[in-house]
C-alpha cells in the first residue's frame, strides 16, 4: 500500500487518490511528489487546477528563492502536467481542461525556458513537428510540443498545413532526425503517407523516424503509412520520442 502521507499538498493527494488507477502510476507519482518540496507540489497543484496566475507567481518566487529551474520544471510543471495527462487519457477531463492547464504550464515555462537555454543543458534530441498538408488543426500538436519541450526535447514547430517539401526542408536545415506528424481530419490523413513517400524519394527515409498522431489516426494506420510509431496523446508522444531518439542515435 502506497503512503500518501509524505505529500503535503491536499490537492495532489486528492488527485492521486481519486484519479490514478494503475498501480505503477500511483507508485511513481507518490514517490515523485513525496520527494518534491511543498513549493513544487503547490506549483503542480495550481497547474492541475489551470490557475496560470498562481503558477506564474509561484514559479517566479521559487526561482528568486534559489530553486533550480530544472527542479521547478520536473517536480512542479511536468509532474503536474503528468497528472493532467493521465486524467485526460482516462476520460476524467477533456481538451478544454487540458488547454487551461497547458496555459498554466506555459506561464511557468516562460520563466524556465530562457534559464535552461542560457545554461547550455543538452536536449535529449530535436523533433520536427507539423500538422500535415490541408489540415489547420493544431491543438493536439501544440500539446505534444509543450510536453516534448518539458520532456527535454528541442522542438522545431512547422505549424499547420505542412507540405512534404516543408518537412524535407526542415530536416535538411537542421540536425533533427525525429518527425512528428499530426492530422485531425480523415481527409488529410493520407498526406502522412505522402510525406513518408517524399522522404523515400529523397533518399532520406532511413535517416529519420516518423511519429504520427491525431484523433482519427490509429496505430494500424500509422503502420500502413510507414511511420515508426503512433502516439495516442501527448504523454505517449513524449515516451515514443524518447524511444525513437535512442534509435536514431545508434
Amino acid at each position: 500500500m502506497v503512503q500518501l502521507s509524505g505529500i503535503a499538498n491536499d490537492t495532489i493527494r486528492a488527485e492521486i487518490e481519486e484519479f490514478l488507477e494503475r498501480p505503477e502510476e500511483i507508485e511513481r507519482n507518490v514517490e515523485l511528489f513525496s520527494r518534491a518540496s511543498p513549493e513544487m507540489q503547490d506549483i503542480a497543484a495550481a497547474l492541475i487546477e489551470g490557475d496560470n496566475v498562481t503558477v506564474d507567481r509561484l514559479t517566479s518566487k521559487a526561482l528568486a528563492d534559489g530553486v533550480h529551474a530544472l527542479e521547478i520544471m520536473d517536480d512542479g510543471l511536468i509532474a503536474g502536467m503528468g497528472i493532467v495527462g493521465i486524467k485526460f487519457r482516462e476520460g476524467y477531463v477533456f481538451v478544454p481542461e487540458v488547454l487551461v492547464s497547458a496555459r498554466a504550464m506555459k506561464a511557468g515555462m516562460a520563466h524556465i525556458e530562457p534559464i535552461l537555454a542560457a545554461s547550455g543543458v543538452e536536449p535529449i534530441g530535436t523533433v520536427i513537428m507539423g500538422t500535415v498538408q490541408g489540415d489547420l488543426h493544431d491543438i493536439g500538436k501544440n500539446l505534444c510540443i509543450m510536453m516534448l519541450r518539458g520532456g527535454g526535447f528541442t522542438v522545431i514547430d512547422l505549424g499547420v498545413n505542412t507540405s512534404p517539401d516543408e518537412f524535407l526542408a526542415a530536416v535538411k536545415d537542421s540536425e533533427a532526425r525525429l518527425i512528428g506528424m499530426s492530422a485531425l481530419l480523415t481527409t488529410t490523413m493520407p498526406n502522412m503517407a505522402r510525406t513518408v513517400e517524399a522522404f523515400k524519394d529523397a533518399g532520406l527515409r532511413e535517416q529519420v523516424r516518423f511519429m504520427v498522431g491525431g484523433a482519427p489516426v490509429t496505430p494500424e494506420f500509422g503502420e500502413e503509412v510507414g511511420a515508426d510509431g503512433y502516439g495516442k496523446d501527448a504523454l505517449a508522444c513524449v515516451a515514443l520520442a524518447k524511444q525513437l531518439a535512442l534509435d536514431v542515435r545508434r
Binding site: 489551470g50 476520460g91 477533456f94 481538451v95 478544454p96 481542461e97 488547454l99 487551461v100 496555459r103 498538408q133 490541408g134 489540415d135 489547420l136 488543426h137 493544431d138 491543438i139 501544440n142 498545413n161 481530419l185 480523415t186 481527409t187 488529410t188 490523413m189 493520407p190 484523433a215 482519427p216 489516426v217 490509429t218 494500424e220 494506420f221 500502413e224
Partner: protein, 365 residues
Amino acid sequence: MTEEQYPRLSGEWMTPRRRFLSALYGGRVDKVPAMTLSSVITLEAMEIADAAFPEAHLDAEKMARLAATAHENLGLDTVMPVFHSQLEADALDASTWWGTKDNWPAVDDHVLTDPDDFKVPSDYLERRSFRAALGAIRLLRKRYPDVGIVGKVYGAWSVGFHMVGIENFLMDTILDPDKIRRYLEVLLPASMMSAHAQLEAGADAIMWCDHANRELVSPDMYRDFLLEMHQQIQAEVGGPSILHCCGETTDRIDYFAEAGWDCFHFESQVDPVKAKEIAGDRMSLFGNINNPTVLFSGTYEDCYEACMTVLNAGVQGVAPEGSVPLGTKMEVLAALADSARDYSNAHRPDGRFVTHDPPVAGSDS
C-alpha cells in the same frame, strides 16, 4: 379489386428520394439507402464531372455536376453539394483558404473575440459561398427530382470554432462559460438562416454539424451548452434534421436522441450495435464506414464487409463516416450501394419492405 388486377409492389419501387426520407424518419423502405451525407467527392469524380476543387466550391454549376457523381456514378440515393465546411464562416468574414484540387479548404484566421461584436451581415445569403451552394441545390433539384438532396449546416458551436478559434473557444467553456453561451446565442441565427435557405432552394433535409465529440469535450458539456439549443432547432428548422458529430460519441447519443434529432450520422469510432441499442426507435442512425482504413486504403471487399457489419447492426442507412479522402477510389465506394442492395434483397421477407429482423424461415429471400 383483386390482387391479380393490382400486383404487389416488390423489389426496388421507391425513388431514392422517398427511400432516403423514409429511412431518415425510421420508416418503411424497399431498400436500405446508401448515401452521401458528407462529401464522397474524389479526384476521379472531378475528372468525370469535369469540375474540380477549388473552383467547384464557389461555382454552382461545377458544384452541382460534381455532387451529381454520387448518384450517377456511385448509385447513391442522395447527393450533397456543400463539400466543404466553410459555407457559413466564409459568409461571416472568416478568412478562408479555398484549398487546391487535392486539398480541402479551411478557415485560416479567426475574426471574433467578443460575441457582442458579432452581427449577421445583411447580404449574408448573397455572399459567394451561399451563391454557389444555393445555386447548386436549385440545379440539382431541377435535374434530379427523385434523388435525395442533403443540405449541410455548421451549427453555432462549430461556426464558433471557425470564428473564434477552436482553442480559445474550448478554453472559454471553462474560463468564461457565459461568453460561450452568448457566442452560441448570436451565432445560431446564422446557422438557422443557412438551413432555411438550403431547404427553400430544394434540399430535402439538413445535416447539422456541431462537433461536441468525446475527443474534445465531455458529455456534460454537450448537455450544458447544446442540448437545449438543439431542441430549439427541431422546432424551428423546418425540415428533417440529421445531426453530424465527428469521432467517438457513444456516451452522448442518448442526449442526441433527447434533443429530438430525426437522425444521427455517426463515425466509425462508435460501435453501431451499441449506438442502435442507445438510440432505439427515438432517432434513426446513418453511418459509419471508416474513411482512412476501409475507404481510402481498403478494397471493394473491405468496404462491402464493413457495410454489411453496420447494416446488420440495424442502422437505417449506410454512408461513409465523414468526407472521404480525395484519393479514395470510386471502385471502393461502389460497394456502398452494392452492399445496401444485397442486404436488402436478403432482408425483404415479404418482397416489399426491408426488415432488420432475420428473414422469415422458408422465405425465398
